[in-house]
Symmetry: C2
Subunit: 529 residues, 2 copies
Amino acid sequence: MRYVDFDKTAGYHQLASLKASGTKVDLGSLLSAAQVNQRQVPMAAGLTYSWAAKEVDTPVLESLQALAEEQELIGKYQAILEGEVMNTGEHRKVLHHLLRGQLGKPVIHDGKDIGAFYRQEQERFSAFADAVHAGTLRGSTGKAFTTVVQIGIGGSDLGPRALYLALENWAAAAGKQRLQAKFTSNVDPDDASQVAASVVLEQTIFVLVSKSGTTQETLANELFIKAKLHKAGLDPSKHLVAVTSETSPLARNPAYLDSFYIDDFIGGRYSSTSGVGGVVLSLAFGKEVFQAILAGAHEADTLALESNIYKNAALLDALIGIWERNFQGYPYTAILPYSQALSRFPAHLQQLDMESNGKRVNRNGEPLAYATGPVVFGEPGTNGQHSFYQLLHQGTDVIPLQFVGFIESQRGDDLMVDGSLSQTKLKANLAAQIVAFAKGKADPNGNKVFLGGRPSSLIYGKRLTPEALGALLAHFENKVMFQGLVWNLNSFDQEGVQLGKVLTKKVLAAQGGSSGDPVLDAYSALLGL
Amino acid sequence: MRYVDFDKTAGYHQLASLKASGTKVDLGSLLSAAQVNQRQVPMAAGLTYSWAAKEVDTPVLESLQALAEEQELIGKYQAILEGEVMNTGEHRKVLHHLLRGQLGKPVIHDGKDIGAFYRQEQERFSAFADAVHAGTLRGSTGKAFTTVVQIGIGGSDLGPRALYLALENWAAAAGKQRLQAKFTSNVDPDDASQVAASVVLEQTIFVLVSKSGTTQETLANELFIKAKLHKAGLDPSKHLVAVTSETSPLARNPAYLDSFYIDDFIGGRYSSTSGVGGVVLSLAFGKEVFQAILAGAHEADTLALESNIYKNAALLDALIGIWERNFQGYPYTAILPYSQALSRFPAHLQQLDMESNGKRVNRNGEPLAYATGPVVFGEPGTNGQHSFYQLLHQGTDVIPLQFVGFIESQRGDDLMVDGSLSQTKLKANLAAQIVAFAKGKADPNGNKVFLGGRPSSLIYGKRLTPEALGALLAHFENKVMFQGLVWNLNSFDQEGVQLGKVLTKKVLAAQGGSSGDPVLDAYSALLGL
């Protein structure tokens, strides 16, 4: 396998010359009904990727296909699946796909079958959830657990929280809500204090999630919660369970009901389908629901092996994003799910994308001369329409848009008003926005002109089920992976978080005195430190 | 008053030539302890604006001061205060400042004293909240109200919701929580269904907020809720109150307990300090708390009249933003509050900024040749540190940062872990991040290099109180206003929302048949419409 910086590839120069030739794809005229019906790729779990409203013509698409082959994207994905060390900075394998199923040969590390290890942990926490649901495992006063609180931050919070919120209504309708879930993440003491005050402690189980077992925020919140449990006369060891690595201080520790393990090959932002998401989601909805998420993700992982860009939604989505970022020059992407259930999904994708590909050096640490990961932001529609869509429609810059929508609601509780259901109104707004962004509108009044030419894609499906959610999650993970491979990045480390940690320790060590850095001391003084 | 496009001003050309001369402000060396102590502006309610880590030197600052004078920013602000028609597209005055207090001569419109009208409505809804709290006003079964649900979208949701969440912990600690508040906004039926299922209907009062009384989403959700109340055997007219304009169908309508009024001079995204925010916040926390928010905002409005940029935080913040957007070429700004209470404040600022200044025509509808409003996004710290900060530190682009932090927590419920309180850790992280972003770090390993040069400002104060929250809100409103005036925009309309509404109506009218637009029909078909 050859690892080449993007600007050293023939594909880069071909795309650059297409851009330089000034060919402009006019979305307004491109977008015919035939195009809408044709430009679709089937995804996992019955979802579809519709890319009719993207600014790509045949020469661009052919160049993107050639680029995919030149950068050996599918081959490198297979190398990831088979355990090659793709997290080059930390010299680690990258094995989150293996959490969902085996797609290559077994991955053996130090004589251990990693897939078997992941399956074993999954079985262990499934049995744990069963015991809680059966009432054989209870809190220290003998009462059944009714609430689960996840204590974690970053990947131990955003992904699991987004997935939980995405399925809360589905579970209510399906009779699958077993425990209510809450989350605390911030070191801001108001966060843990508020969550602790909002639950019945003797009926609450806390899931402490930290791979290293040393995350400052998470450990502070753990002790905060333990103090609350003590104060309430409860035994913390009967209310806490840990998700961590086998080498962490939280492993095999009698302070917890049990510990479930991940390893260094599961990055935080890729950990939702491990015990990091699995313990809380299995407790909240039952193990079958979590397994359905895994099944949807595994199907998406399988489809991502296809080398033809017209048949691989994650690959095509990734490559169109490369065209938009590096040649159209758009530095951001908006995620716009027309589904209230996905209210925090954009925040998860923000981490997934920006932490993976927000890098200015290649996988060997050498500086790059081209733009990499964009800024990702978003809110659910229709809410966003009444907020920042003004800029998306009539601002001075073009922002590529990623819509998501479903034919049916989750709860099926709806009302006909003015001749249409709310779900129908929601979908009508979605269809209307795609067309409005692409085609715009002329008007003699300059203030009412819409230039159009705002590209978007749409992922749609019948209903947001656990399988569809898993497919959606894996789609974006694989998209981000393919983009990182085009850019020749290591998408799996996060050195950018280190400097802040070092300086924070300096400030904390200096409390009252000097850290040795007068600027740090001056800011500390402003904040009363 | 002269209204001139930004690129026709002397200030624009002066700033452009400063940029072209290649003077680069090196943040790493600029940032001394002396600079940190000096570059501060007092704000309202005891807050301070610290701008030591901004990339501006004396020539740039002098040009910005001259630009403020050339564009008559303070004079135009005074014109707004005194009722000039500044929403040129809709031919309306812009009077949200008047909700907080009188700063110019009385504003008379059609013989009516608008300030007196605003005060009267505020007194009416204060008395209404008092009656609910006293138990003299009860639901249709005679039980006291314990919950208030706001039904509104956009400005009728984001601002009030952000303010409510910002004060929930403060109120818990101060014993000021009177009713619990919830919000429903999306036309997605799962949103209203979930909220309705989560409250005790007979003890819930609903606040229906729509200035026009015709907002599609809000009216659908109102009927949805009314159907639930009917089904529960309750009388909806004893559970609903409206906030609207006097000409709307919701005005003086016996279907509501009462209606409180705003007028066309209060834009949605500027309406948090009107009854749009006032009814729900007064019900939730008591009228005194809402009045304290107004007092903080009014103090900020007063300080924004100062013409010296070194004494006017909103003006300085606005002008530095202009430098960053138009000359440094940064197309986005991140809002990073180190306060979990401000978790939804970035979403409110996203609307405030992007809907106000996401415009490509000037106040007369003529196209502009320069960039206007940036993309605004953000999440609370420390959460963001474990998410998208990777890109902020080590991505290929520079993103200006707006930090917010407080010396004390709101609940005062904290624990010493490893020698420091959680609040201390929170602040140590904040100080560390500012310095890390500005100064960076050299390293022989390219992957561990931090270039630094990431500019930021910091708003800090003792504690997030109602007064401080009002000051914070008004600071950003006034900042956005000043930027719109520099760019010669109408920051107070939102024509960009119209096209989507028109096309949505087409889709809904066509259900099953054709809308007359084959592309719209094709997308409708994908979504099962």
